[in-house]
Symmetry: C2
Subunit: 207 residues, 2 copies
């Protein structure tokens, strides 16, 4: 009584979830080409052929992972919206992005890996959905500037700078830790970063 287009059973959904979780671990640590199906299968607690029963290929795992990741990834920018107080809005965006770097470093690294390789699989999304979203937010920022609520500057590069500085704490984590040294290790660095970034961005935007 099922439809011709196979609906996923609950077991299938659960196993696919486990595999994606394992793949996120492995891919983000070793890169796509540096990872093997066996490693993912191992991390997922199943055999390679079993894994390939749920995903037809290594590529398909990666593609599925990327698709989900991008939704999560763009969420903070979607939330960024026209509000009474631009400073509050921007501060909130920075805070959310920094929290994502802290709570989802694997996702950040996987994304960074993809972009570094030239983003072959998500180029169309970057040029389409992402560009339009950024265009929209840039218009909001420009409006604030015209209204004299924040200092005039390039909204695109402002957004790039927020991305770069926040994601740095996920993507370059080992370097940050190495430079800060063992004494300044621990999650305290994220609070220091939050204070610093707020001062950096808000300080330069205040009129």
């Amino acid at each position: 009584m099922e439809t011709a287009a196979r609906p996923l059973t609950r077991i299938q959904q659960e196993k696919r979830e486990i595999i994606l979780e394992a793949a996120l671990d492995v891919f983000s640590a070793n890169g796509f080409r540096g990872s093997t199906i066996d490693q993912v299968a191992d991390a997922a607690g199943m055999s390679k052929p079993n894994l390939l029963y749920y995903f037809r290929s290594k590529e398909e795992i990666h593609a599925t992972l990327m698709e989900r990741l991008l939704h999560t990834w763009l969420a903070p920018l979607h939330e960024f919206d026209d509000g009474d107080d631009p400073i509050t809005e921007i501060r909130g965006y920075i805070r959310r992005k920094l929290e994502m770097a802290r709570d989802f470093p694997r996702e950040s690294r996987l994304f960074a890996n993809e972009i570094l390789q030239g983003a072959p699989r998500i180029m169309s999304l970057l040029e389409g959905e992402l560009k339009q979203l950024v265009d929209k937010k840039a218009r909001i920022i420009r409006k604030w500037m015209r209204a004299g609520k924040i200092a005039r500057t390039d909204p695109y590069h402002l957004i790039f700078a927020i991305w770069a500085t926040t994601q740095h704490y996920a993507d370059f984590d080992v370097q940050v830790r190495a430079v800060l040294g063992p004494d300044r290790d621990g999650e305290g660095r994220f609070e220091d970063a939050a204070r610093f970034l707020e001062q950096l961005f808000i300080g330069s935007l205040r009129v």
Copy 2:
């Protein structure tokens, strides 16, 4: 009549140079594990066994490349020095780092790749040479702050932010281009970035 430790012939030096140049191209585009010796040999215009006559292994090519890269990479930070005018000094550092992102994007990406993978091969350098260098520069910055020449903030996170924002234009180049769109493409984006970053950092540091 040569000494026991074989001195490199001119041909050997030239060929090694050609190989390293080709390897930088290939490794920075595909990552170390995503690249094959054949690809490098191809790009260098020679056969694989011939390439392996000049470098004993793929690892050795990568290690040699990394070593050279790191010297170039830390040069701007070495130049950053105690001066009369902190603003000029910081502005100059930002400009030099941004120029490196523009002129040596492959080096930047290779470095980013290494850090992303956990920096297994250069960890000791990060914890040693790099940390000490940053510590030294952080002390200079703190001195400026105590003298009331720039606003008080965390010098380490300031340096991280400069790294992140400037390298972003090399490492995330495809994303930057995609978001700016075809009309804002071209090298003009680096000048826009320079103006923006100056305003961002100098604006927030001014007392």
